[in-house]
Amino acid sequence: MGVEEQALAKLRERFPKLLLESGSVRPGVGRVKIDRKDLVEICFYLKEELGYEHLSCISAVDWRDRYECVYHFTRYSDGSMFQVNAIIPHDDPHIESLCKFWRSATYPERESYDLMGIVFDHQPDLRRILLPPDYRFFPLRKDFPQEVDRQYISRRKLKTGGV
Amino acid sequence: MFLVFSAVEIVGAILTVTSKKLVRAAFWLLITLITISGIYILLRAEFVALIQILVYAGAVPVLLLFGIMLTRKKMLEESETSEAK
């Protein structure tokens, strides 16, 4: 039984009802899927009890019907990693901030807010970070127009004569 | 020569006390002090003149400016527009 299996077993024991999905990705890497309201509880348990001390990344994904916040944690002692997918409903992109436990959550959370528009509650400093402060869109969302096909435009212009 | 020096000195002294910017006042003070050392040279007191430049013109206005810059707040205050929030 690998390290991630042990951690997963402990998690299943501690939170029997909260894990929507759990499994091992590859040796040393575990993955659980949870709802957004249980995030703080599980992450706190991961940090304090299981020793996943390093929050390496916060990624937000727009799956069209839902958002997912993907948290990656590392335990430096044996190099095992843990992935937590928190599901956020599409019409209400709010999730609790992890700044209380990891100060390293500040910048990635700001970035996720900036690019994906996910609001992190109780974040002390939730501002735009990469884009200008007066920018009104969230460009990484799937409904943000991705690319202007310049060739297509010129082709259409040739065909229809303008517009 | 004496008249030229004293004229410059009087003008410098008047500007020292009347100019509104303190740094400019220090600049005019420097001019005044240098002309005073010129008058010393006219009086054949070269040593005093050189010490006048070395100590009074070289050091005193610098100390004065130092004090002005360290104490004045208004000059350094941030304008509201440059706050990048």
Binding site: - | K21, V23, R24, F27, L30, E46, F47, L50, I51, I53, L54, A57, G58, A59, P61, V62, L63, L65, F66, M69, L70, L76
Partner: protein
Amino acid sequence: MSGSLLTPNLVGLCRSLTEILLGIVKAIFDALSLPGLGSWFMSPGVVVFFTYLIATLVMVMWAALVNLLSVMWVERKLYSRIQDRRGIMLGVPWPWSKKYKRGMTNLGWGFLQNIADGVKLLQKENITPASADKLLFHAAPAIIVSSTIMVFAVFPFSENFYYTKVALGVLFVLAALSLGPFAIILAGYSSNNKYTLIGGLRAAAMMLSYEIPLILCVVAVVLLSGTLDPFQMVAVQERPLLGTIVPSWNVFSPPQMLGFVIFFIALVAELERIPFDIPEADAELVEGWTTEYGGMRFGFLFGFKWLRAFAGAGLLVILYLGGWNGPVFATFSVLGYPIPILPQEFWFLLKTYLVVMVIIWISWSIPRVRADQVLKIGWNRLIPLALLTILGAAVFKTMGWF
């Protein structure tokens, strides 16, 4: 010892030159049958006026053009060598060199690089910031340039190569150099920029604290040699030391060795060279107090730093390294008339350039020190040691050991 190239002296030489020129002018006016105007040109007042005009021009040209460009060239060559740079090796070769006629080559001497820089700076626009204090902004480079040029009014290059002889020459040089900090702080303030302001404040703090050990060291030298006249100061250092062939330069006397080191460090700080170049630390303050200056004004501020370096090194040579004294064998006499093989000017320039090269060498091989550390070194180390130097000099003078 070796003799001077210029005899009798600069002003005398210029006087004879003026007389020749004015004689030609008089001859022209005489030929035009205007004898009154011709003899007015030969009147003593006019001759003296033109003499000093020409002497001033010669001195300024020599100092500010030849030596300034040479110091810059030496610095660039040296640090290019130290750093394995290629750029400065590119330059226009000598015009008579047939081998490299194809134009720019990397075998040139690179001497024209400075002139090219000067031409570039002259072509650039002189920008005055809109919010600057115009009067002070324009006054600051003028003060720096004029105070640096003023140094050369009393600066002797040899026994005869000088502009005026002042009994308090060393004091004059120090006084002229001490006007620099004021101009720097003016420049820093008037540019109305935070970098220049911090740079100006740093410059003022540093120069104030380093001028004190500098002057204290000079006091120690003055105590030993008993004069403020650079000529006598050099004359004191002329004799051999206690029966040896080592000359009795001030640097070889025990109290002055310490003084030499302190003077050198304080000089490096005065000249804002790299271990102490915090006023214009380019990594943190962009260019320090010179940030807002552009075009030839920046050229003046930048170039005259090198001229100050030259003047400072010259002062060091006069005070500690025996001035223009060369080795004894440099003169031989023909028919009882001494003929210098290598004149005094050569020895003086050789020593000065060696000192400048040491300063350059140091400044390109160590990192810069932090502002508070600079001040700490100045106040905690150099000033007590300088006072110790004075004490030592006084003891040596009283006991007559040196």
